[in-house]
């Protein structure tokens, strides 16, 4: 699932209660700035790659192949964020961040990479574009926040673009998983049947269906959480600007 909600609630809190927050040390801050700058650059590379491929080919089909490697690299790199939470240098919940990053990594590797036939689907472009725009905004938001120079435009973008990008990403993801289903069933991908000496069975096809079903309760919760965050964060700023 696209993860614009990652770290949101805590970051919003820190925006409004800077006096209380201890914050990471200077070394950790420096590292985080570098990390977020690198990630912003990475996703910009992916964005540029998509645009160039589109201009070169003249159509938006099969653009995945032109950005496959940087997508895999930078999306997998996001696993570091779980470590950041575990070490406490980022004030987010390990579980929540873990869940969001793993869902992205799952879609990148266990669906798109593993089932070659879906790579030419248009739904892949749908979620790749959603992820790219979201991540560029998100990582630049973190970079500027860490440097205490957050332009209102970035803050506004972070808490507004998701309104369209989040459903777009979810639609792309669901359509891609759905497209993968027949191939998974045919080849028995990642599945193990009885009998075997571990007395265990796993049907990846059924598992993918369950993943799709899980979007139904999870997506609205995350979406409305972001909506509430938006009201809280963007609502305050108007008061502050009046005071200044």
């Amino acid at each position: 699932m696209s993860a614009p909600a990652m770290g949101t609630s805590k970051t919003a809190h820190s925006d409004s209660s800077n006096k209380k927050k201890k914050g990471p040390g200077t070394l950790a801050t420096a590292y985080l700035v570098i990390y977020n700058v690198v990630m912003t650059a990475g996703w910009l590379v992916i964005a540029v790659g998509l645009v160039r491929a589109y201009l070169a080919r003249g159509s938006y089909h099969g653009l995945y192949y032109s950005i496959e490697k940087p997508l895999k690299f930078f999306q997998t790199g996001a696993l570091l964020e779980i470590l950041h939470c575990a070490l406490g240098i980022v004030p987010s919940s390990v579980v929540l961040t873990g869940f969001q990053v793993m869902s992205r990594v799952f879609l990148t590797w266990a669906v798109t990479h593993s089932v070659r036939e879906v790579q030419s689907e248009d739904s892949v472009l749908l979620f790749v574009v959603a992820w790219t725009v979201t991540e560029i905004i998100r990582y630049s938001f973190y970079t500027f926040s860490l440097l205490n120079h957050l332009p209102y435009l970035i803050k506004w973008a972070r808490y507004t673009f998701f309104i369209v990008l989040y459903p777009m990403g979810v639609a792309g993801e669901l359509l891609t998983i759905y497209a993968a289903l027949p191939y998974v069933q045919k080849t028995g991908l990642y599945s193990i049947t009885l009998p075997n000496k571990y007395n265990f069975s796993f049907d990846y096809h059924t598992f993918l269906i369950l993943v799709m079903v899980s979007y139904i309760p999870l997506f609205p919760q995350l979406y409305f959480h972001m909506m509430r965050q938006r009201k809280k964060v963007l609502g305050h700023v108007e008061e502050y600007s009046k005071v200044e």
């Binding site: 075997n196 000496k197 007395n199």
Partner: protein
């Protein structure tokens, strides 16, 4: 003479005065003749709204007494779901605390939080154990709709499957009997919503395990009879151990006595592990499930064992820490759950 007469008059008037105010409880011997009654005010912790004002509260009243009084005027808030604190950000007060020993003046202000519907620990244990007991048997007897129709009501041809069923059922029956007759629960209740989380975990795990163990295509352990026998031995040893520990812990807690005590090894050899471990009940429980995993050689059982181990380690560490805090002389050789390791 006059002094004696005065004294005699004084004594008569004292004895006349003493029984006059009839109280439901016998007055504890006090130096002062007057009792300073407390005034108790209960405010909602969120809205700071005044929920109840009690005057003439006995100084020896416990928090539980105050909760009972509060319950009388608000019948839907029974004592178990009340949390009373002196400070909105502070910790809830224990039921046994006495009013006059609290750092309040003669007017005490308590902040009330509704803990939500509560359910007794014992009830939770019973429900969480009856589920797996019944569910496993549904799979063991191969009720319809679980496996292919031709396997309905058939029996497995592997001896280990029957042994596993006996072990699993024995384990949960033992837990049910212990809940009814052995355990003494220190915390009375838990939030009602927890029961859904807890029961779904236990019941789904039992169904998942039972499905594979009783499956027509089940594969018996790799090392055959040797493995099953060894595993059964471990399982039974740990079941006996677990029972011994539960009995030993029960004997520590005499009914009505609220003082905490350090458990020590008794004459029963199974309790000698207390010398090395703070929570041997969890150690033995782990051992039982390890035995069961070895016996069935089934990945879902291993998964359940590992998850259980992680959870029990967390609980054991917490308990170990509270022992260390409570007792200065706590034996230093002891580890929370695994001797010397964890």
């Amino acid at each position: 003479m006059d002094a004696l007469a005065l004294e005699a008059k004084g004594a008569k008037s004292e004895s006349a005065a003493a029984p006059a105010p009839s109280k439901p409880r016998p007055k504890p011997p006090q130096k002062a003749k007057r009792i300073v009654y407390f005034e108790v005010e209960i405010l909602d912790i969120k809205t700071r709204e005044k929920l109840l004002l009690l005057d003439k509260v006995e100084p020896t009243a416990t928090i539980l007494d105050i909760k009972s009084l509060f319950h009388k005027s608000n019948p839907h808030w029974y004592p178990a779901r009340q949390s009373l604190c002196l400070d909105p950000k502070g910790k809830p007060l224990r039921d046994e605390e006495i009013l006059q020993e609290l750092p309040v003046g003669t007017t005490a202000t308590f902040y009330f939080r509704d803990l939500g519907a509560q359910i007794a620990w014992g009830t939770v244990f019973l429900i969480e154990c009856i589920g797996p007991l019944v569910i496993y048997l549904l799979f063991y007897f191969r009720l319809p709709l679980i496996y292919a129709p031709k396997y309905e009501f058939t029996a497995s041809k592997h001896l280990v499957v029957h042994i596993a069923c006996v072990c699993h059922s024995f384990h949960y029956m033992k837990r049910i009997l212990e809940t009814l007759f052995v355990h003494r629960f220190s915390h009375g209740t838990m939030p009602f919503r927890n029961i859904f989380k807890i029961c779904s975990y236990y019941w789904c795990s039992a169904a998942w395990m039972a499905y594979y163990i009783n499956h027509p295509l089940y594969t018996p352990p790799y090392y055959g009879e040797k493995q099953v026998k060894a595993a059964l031995g471990i399982f039974l040893f740990c079941q006996l151990g677990s029972f011994s520990i539960h009995v030993a812990l029960r004997n520590l807690k005499l009914p009505g006595c609220k003082t905490k005590k350090i458990p020590y090894p008794t004459k029963n050899p199974f309790t000698w592990i207390f010398a090395l471990v703070s929570c041997p009940n969890y150690t033995y429980e782990m051992g039982s499930w390890l035995g069961f995993t070895l016996m069935t050689q089934c990945v879902p059982v291993l998964f359940f064992t590992v998850v259980g181990f992680i959870q029990m380690t967390v609980w054991a560490k917490g308990k170990h820490r509270s022992y260390l805090k409570e007792f200065k002389q706590y034996p230093t050789l002891r580890s929370p759950i695994l001797p010397f390791i964890l």
